[in-house]
C-alpha cells in the first residue's frame, strides 16, 4: 500500500493533469521526499532535474487518489455536515482510509456524486457504472434514483448544462428545500415545500437529495 504522502503526490499530479493537460509537475520543496522515491520504484512516475512526470502506469492510481479525496470532501459536507472551512484539512486525513472497496461504499452512500463540493469532477469508479442494488444504504442520492415516497432535503444541484440549472432555479428548486418524491413514472413528480412539480428524468438526475429516514 502507498504511503499517505505518496498518495498526495499522485493526487497533485492528477489535479495538474486535469487543469493543464499532461504536463510535468515542478518538484519544488519535495525534492528529497521519500514518497517520490517510492513512486519511482513502483513505476508510477519519472523524474528529471526539476520535474516529475506521471507515467501511464500511475495514471489509474492518481485518479483513484483524486477520487478518494473528493469523495471524502463530499462525505464531510453531505453527511457529516462539517463546516466548509475545514473540509479540506479533514478530508486530507480521511481520504487515506478510503481503500479497498470502502471508497465504493462511500460513493454509493453519497449517491455516486459527479462533483466535489467545490464543483470539481470526481472520477467515476466501478460502482458508478454498476446498476444500483435495491435496499442499499444511501444518505444522498440523485432524485432520479430515489423510490416513491422517499423524503429528504435538496443537498445540491449538479449539471453541466447551465440552461438546465437555470430552469431548476426558475421554478425554485434550490438546495436546502425539503422534497419528497410522489411519482417516478411517466415523469418525476416531487413535492417541494407546499408545491408540486413535474420534471423529466434528465432534470431529476441533476438534483441530489440528502435522505431523511421516516
Amino acid at each position: 500500500m502507498l504511503s499517505e504522502h505518496a498518495e498526495e503526490v499522485l493526487e497533485a499530479l492528477a489535479v495538474q493533469m486535469e487543469e493543464q493537460g499532461r504536463r510535468p509537475l515542478d518538484l519544488g520543496v519535495s525534492r528529497d521526499d521519500p514518497a517520490i522515491e517510492e513512486l519511482i520504484k513502483l513505476g508510477f512516475i519519472r523524474r528529471d532535474a526539476d520535474h516529475i512526470h506521471l507515467l501511464d502506469k500511475g495514471k489509474t492510481e492518481a485518479h483513484a487518489a483524486l477520487r478518494r479525496h473528493r469523495l471524502a470532501e463530499r462525505l464531510m459536507v453531505d453527511v457529516l455536515d462539517i463546516k466548509k472551512q475545514i473540509i479540506n484539512e479533514a478530508s486530507c486525513k480521511f481520504e487515506h482510509l478510503l481503500h479497498e472497496g470502502l471508497e465504493d461504499n462511500v460513493c454509493t452512500i453519497l449517491g455516486h456524486p459527479k462533483v466535489c463540493p467545490h464543483g470539481k469532477l470526481i472520477p467515476p469508479g466501478r460502482c458508478c457504472q454498476e446498476k444500483a442494488k435495491k435496499g442499499q444504504m444511501k444518505f444522498v442520492s440523485a432524485l432520479s434514483e430515489l423510490e416513491v415516497k422517499d423524503r429528504g432535503e435538496i443537498a445540491y444541484l449538479h449539471t453541466k448544462d447551465s440552461s438546465q440549472m437555470q430552469k431548476l432555479m426558475s421554478i425554485g428548486i434550490l438546495p436546502g428545500m425539503s422534497a419528497s418524491l410522489l411519482q417516478k413514472f411517466p415523469s418525476y413528480v416531487l413535492q417541494l415545500g407546499q408545491s408540486q412539480f413535474a420534471i423529466d428524468k434528465e432534470l431529476a438526475s441533476c438534483i441530489y437529495v440528502r435522505l431523511v429516514r421516516a
Binding site: 438546465q164 432555479m169 411517466p186 407546499q194 412539480f197 413535474a198 423529466d200 434528465e202
Partner: protein
C-alpha cells in the same frame, strides 16, 4: 471556499441581502463603473443582474455606459473564474437562505396526515393507468359532445342557415347589388365567394361558434389544472417526437383551431420545438371543422373510422420521430409546476373565453377576408380551373374520381364546400368505402386551410412556411396513395 461570510449590507439601509466578501467586492467594483444617470433601478441591483449575465441588462448597460462596458465585462469574467458554480446559482442560494430565514421566523406548517380528496383525484389523473380513461372522458364530453355536437352542429346550423342564410346574406346582397352596378365588384363582396357572403359569414357563422365553444371548454379544463397533469403523462412519448410535455397545450388547442394553435406554439421554449409543433399541427392534427366533416363522411363506417384514426396517429408519430432525427438543436427538457386541482370559476372562464376570442378575431379575421379575395381572384382569372385540372392527376393516383379535385381545392379555402363536394359524390354512390377513407386521410393531412398556411408563414418565416407546405402537399398525397395501395393489395374493402 467563498460564500462563507454573508453579512448585512450597511450602505443600502440594512434590508438588502449581503453576499460573501468576494462577491461584494465585485459588486462594489461594478457599481462604481455604472456612471450613467438613466438607470431606472438601483446600481446594486444592476450589478447583481450583470454578474448573473442577464442579457437584457447587459445590452442596456452596453448602450448607456459605452466606455466602461469593457471594464465591467472584464470584472464579470474575473468573478466567474473565482467560482466553480455559475454566479446566478450562488446568488440564488444566498437569497434562498435569506428567504428561508425570514419565513422560518413567521411561518409554521401543521402536519396533515390525511391526503385530501383533491390530492387523491390529482394522483388518479397522474397515474398512467387511470389517466388514459380520464383523458378519453375529457375528450369525449369536452371535445366531441360540447364542441362537436353542440358548437359545430347546433350553433353553426343556427347561425349559418337561419341568421346568415335567411337574413344577412339576402339583405346585404340586395343592398350591394342596388348600390354597386359592376358585376365584378358585386362578386367580390357578395358573390358565391364574396368577402361578405363567404369571408365574414365563414368567420362568424362557422368559425365563431366552433371556436367559442372550444375556448370555453378549454378554459374550463385549463382552470381545473388538468393540463399540467396531462403534460406530465405524455412527456416521455412526446420526447420521442422532439417535443416536451409542455407541447400538449398547443397540440390540444389544435383540435379546436390549428391556426390559433400555431400562434400558441410561441409558448414553447426552443425554436426546434416550435418548428416540430407547427409541422405536426399542420399535418396531423385535424381542427374541429375538419373533424366534423370527416366524422360525417365516415358515418356508418366504424372500420373506416378506425383505419383513418390509425393512419393519422401513425403519421403523427412517424413525422415527429423523423423530424427529431433530422433537425439539429438542443433536446427539450420538461419542467412544470403542478398546481392544486381547483373548481373553475365561471366568471373567470367567461373572461378567458372572451379575451381569447377577441385576440383570435384580431389575428385571424383578416386572413379570412384575404382568403375570399384570393378565391375571387382565382375565379375571375380562371386560375382555379387550371389548378383543378392539375389536381385531377394526383387525385386519380389516389384512386378517386376526378370530380373530387374540386372538393380538394375548395376544401383548402372553404371547408364546408369541400365537404359538400365529397358528400354529393358519396350520395350519388361515386365513392366506395375505401375511396372515402383515402379521401379523408388525404384531406386531414393536407394543410387544413389557407389561414393556417398564412399563419405558418407569419410565425415560422416565409422560407420555412413554404417548405412545410410543399412537404405536406407531397406527403399527404403519398400517404393517401399508400393507403389506397395497401387496401387494394390486401383486398380490404371498408
Amino acid at each position: 471556499m467563498p460564500e462563507q461570510n454573508p453579512k448585512k449590507n450597511e450602505s443600502t439601509g440594512g434590508c438588502a441581502i449581503g453576499y460573501s466578501d468576494t462577491l461584494e467586492v465585485y459588486i462594489a467594483k461594478i457599481t462604481e463603473l455604472l456612471t450613467s444617470k438613466d438607470y431606472k433601478i438601483s446600481k446594486r441591483a444592476l450589478a447583481l443582474l450583470l454578474l448573473q449575465e442577464d442579457q437584457e441588462i447587459l445590452k442596456g448597460v452596453q448602450e448607456k455606459d459605452v466606455q466602461n462596458f469593457p471594464l465591467i465585462e472584464g470584472i464579470i469574467q474575473e468573478a466567474k473564474r473565482h467560482y466553480t458554480q455559475p454566479l446566478n446559482y450562488i446568488i440564488s442560494l444566498r437569497r434562498q437562505s435569506e428567504a428561508n430565514q425570514i419565513t422560518s421566523r413567521i411561518m409554521s406548517f401543521g402536519k396533515s396526515p390525511l391526503i385530501s380528496m383533491q390530492e387523491r383525484l390529482s394522483r388518479i389523473m397522474m397515474n398512467p393507468l387511470t389517466g388514459g380513461p380520464i383523458l378519453l372522458f375529457v375528450l369525449y364530453y369536452g371535445l366531441y359532445k360540447f364542441v362537436g355536437t353542440f358548437g359545430a352542429g347546433f350553433l353553426v346550423d343556427f347561425l349559418e342557415n337561419k341568421i346568415f342564410g335567411n337574413y344577412i346574406n339576402p339583405w346585404v346582397t340586395q343592398w350591394v347589388n342596388a348600390v354597386l352596378p359592376f358585376k365584378l365588384l358585386q362578386d367580390l363582396l357578395v358573390g358565391e365567394y364574396g368577402v361578405i357572403t363567404l369571408g365574414v359569414r365563414y368567420a362568424f357563422a362557422i368559425i365563431l361558434p366552433i371556436v367559442a365553444t372550444f375556448f370555453f371548454a378549454f378554459a374550463i379544463v385549463e382552470d381545473t389544472g388538468y393540463l399540467p397533469r396531462l403534460a406530465m403523462l405524455v412527456d416521455q412519448l412526446f420526447k420521442r417526437i422532439g417535443l416536451s410535455g409542455r407541447a400538449v397545450i398547443p397540440l390540444v388547442l389544435g383540435f379546436g383551431c390549428d391556426t390559433m394553435a400555431t400562434m400558441v406554439t410561441r409558448t414553447l421554449p426552443t425554436k426546434r420545438e416550435r418548428i416540430i409543433a407547427t409541422l405536426l399541427l399542420a399535418l396531423a392534427i385535424p381542427c374541429s371543422a375538419q373533424m366534423g366533416v370527416i366524422l360525417a363522411l365516415l358515418e356508418g363506417r366504424p372500420l373506416g373510422l378506425v383505419v383513418w384514426l390509425g393512419v393519422i396517429i401513425f403519421v403523427f408519430l412517424l413525422v415527429g420521430f423523423l423530424a427529431t432525427k433530422i433537425m439539429p438543436g438542443e433536446l427539450p427538457t420538461f419542467y412544470m409546476e403542478i398546481p392544486p386541482l381547483r373548481l373553475p370559476q365561471f366568471s373567470n372562464v367567461l373572461r378567458k373565453t372572451y379575451s381569447r376570442l377577441k385576440w383570435y378575431f384580431k389575428e385571424i379575421f383578416p386572413l379570412f377576408i384575404f382568403a375570399s379575395l384570393l378565391i375571387w381572384l382565382g375565379q375571375i382569372t380562371r386560375i382555379f380551373d387550371f389548378f383543378v385540372r392539375i389536381l385531377e392527376h394526383p387525385i386519380s393516383w389516389l384512386g378517386l374520381p376526378s370530380e373530387a379535385a374540386v372538393a380538394f381545392l375548395f376544401g383548402f379555402f372553404r371547408r364546408d364546400y369541400g365537404a359538400a363536394g365529397l358528400y354529393d359524390l358519396k350520395k350519388i354512390g361515386l365513392l366506395s368505402g375505401n375511396q372515402l377513407v383515402v379521401a379523408c386521410v388525404t384531406l386531414t393531412l393536407f394543410l387544413p386551410c389557407i389561414a393556417q398556411l398564412l399563419m405558418n408563414v407569419k410565425e415560422r418565416g416565409i422560407r420555412m412556411g413554404i417548405a412545410m407546405s410543399v412537404f405536406i402537399l407531397f406527403f399527404s398525397f403519398s400517404i393517401g396513395y399508400l393507403v389506397n395501395l395497401i387496401l387494394n393489395f390486401l383486398h380490404i374493402s371498408l
